[in-house]
Amino acid sequence: MELMEKHGLTEVTLRGSDEKWSLRRGSLEPPVIYQQGPAGMPAPAAPAPLAPPAGSPPPAEAPAAADDSLQIRSPTVGTFYISPTPEDPPFVTVGSTVKADTIVCIVEAMKVFNQIPAEVSGTVVEVLVANGDPVEFNQPLFRVKPG
């Protein structure tokens, strides 16, 4: 957090209209701050390389998938966490019902823990990323059946 203070990085203003960021510092809820490499959660020291197929077209805007399911995508590049702390249960699992403002995961970028809302309504049918994995901008994180 020292870094955040120093460089004013708490002022996270995102330009994309579909990006919403929640910053914990100073919020009423207790801040969710992961220690680097806590017990029970493998630290992503040497993450597996991401390899989107070269030359593939840019992913279509969410919601859009091969079937009628919707996708929840990452609004930033960072590390994906499925639960608020290693001890807590996941925000959502397959079968969970989500609404637009349901927090579905956290993507950490520069020690800032961004709570990601679903932005769509429906039932989670697939979690596409493993806990602790690096994710890219716009990478699909969940598949959601609308309704």
Binding site: L3, H7, A46, V77, A109, M110, P134, E136, N138
Partner: protein, 445 residues
Amino acid sequence: MFQRILVANRGEIALRIIRACREMGIETVAVFSEADRGAHYLDLADEKYCIGPAAATDSYLMIKRIISTAEIGNVQAIHPGYGFLAENAHFAEVCRDCNIEFIGPPHKAMAELGDKVSAREIAMKAKVHVVPGSDGLIADEKTALEVASRIGYPVLIKATAGGGGKGMRVAMNDMALKAGLKSASAEAEKAFSNAGVYLEKYVENPRHVEVQILADNHGQVVHLWERDCSLQRRHQKLVEESPAPNLPLSVREDICKAAVRLVKAAGYTNAGTCEFLVDADHQFYFIEVNARIQVEHPVSESVTGIDLIQQQIRVAAGEKLDFKQRSIPCNGSSIEIRINAEDPAQNFRPCPGTITKLRVPGGPGVRFDSHVHEGYTIGPWYDSMIGKLIVHRKTREESLACLRRALDEFVIEGVKTTIPLLRKIVSHSAFIEGQVDTTFVERTW
């Protein structure tokens, strides 16, 4: 040495850095915007991460996302290339605070040299000539006439808040100065709500000569000789070469030594460039420092045989330069031309599009640095450079012959390019004779 470096840039310079890293056995992490997804050069990185949409402010300029990628990519250093965040001292500081080395100068030196006033002070302290002028704003007509008398006509009246030529006048004598002061001041007031103006000696038809510097963290500063970049169009360099033609060796050595003094005085390390104006009498005046690698670095690589990107990485990793000033040669003649996707018929407006056919020159003396290929789409998002053609031959005459035949070999279809203009330039007698200044292109075409 670093095991893993993030390349915080795109296009040809990203490819250039990846190439250097591959030769050094260093792994690379590339970042890309959605506009660059699928670009061939990204396949040459060991890892690649999409960091945002096409707009640079949301991707290549977004410090947080670059740093976040550096963390998940587990790199030890970031190479910023040129443009984007390369001369952003704040970014350099953030990198280092995050224990990621920024491959570039100390952020303090970068900030000081980035400010024109403090850069000018450092230069004067290092006994490097700057363009003579008023020390600060002109209070009244009387002061202006005194300053003009001291520095000599012609003088340039410049608005302190100026830009784009607004509030700028050239005065050849007292009468013109008096008239110019009033109109420049009024124009500046109207354009910038700031009527403040200052005076500078007007360097007529100057040549633009810059010196490539390399400095390690152990006190050694060397120059890699100079580049002549006089051939510009609207302050955009079109052609760069080394050595500067028709500049006596003694002058070249003096400029290079001045640059070394200046860089030492600034506490600057890594690669950098000191830019000078050179007038018809071979007087040279410091203008500014470019605190980064430059587009035209290959011409210095050609004549010295030193790989500048590799040296940047070595310096950032704390290594000492493994050569001395006296062992840096200036072999032969090297010329670079920039090929841009621009339409000469439409006032050189950037001309995005898909390259439907591409034939690139090759053979002896030819280097081509480019990330494009047949089928590549040049988008509207970033700069319009398609690639850089660099030739290196024993003499300037041979380099010019090589350049002409290489330009003739180019076939680029699908987008308009600056090649037709470049062909005219390299066949023009003024360029062949090395007699061009920064106003040549606009005066001639």
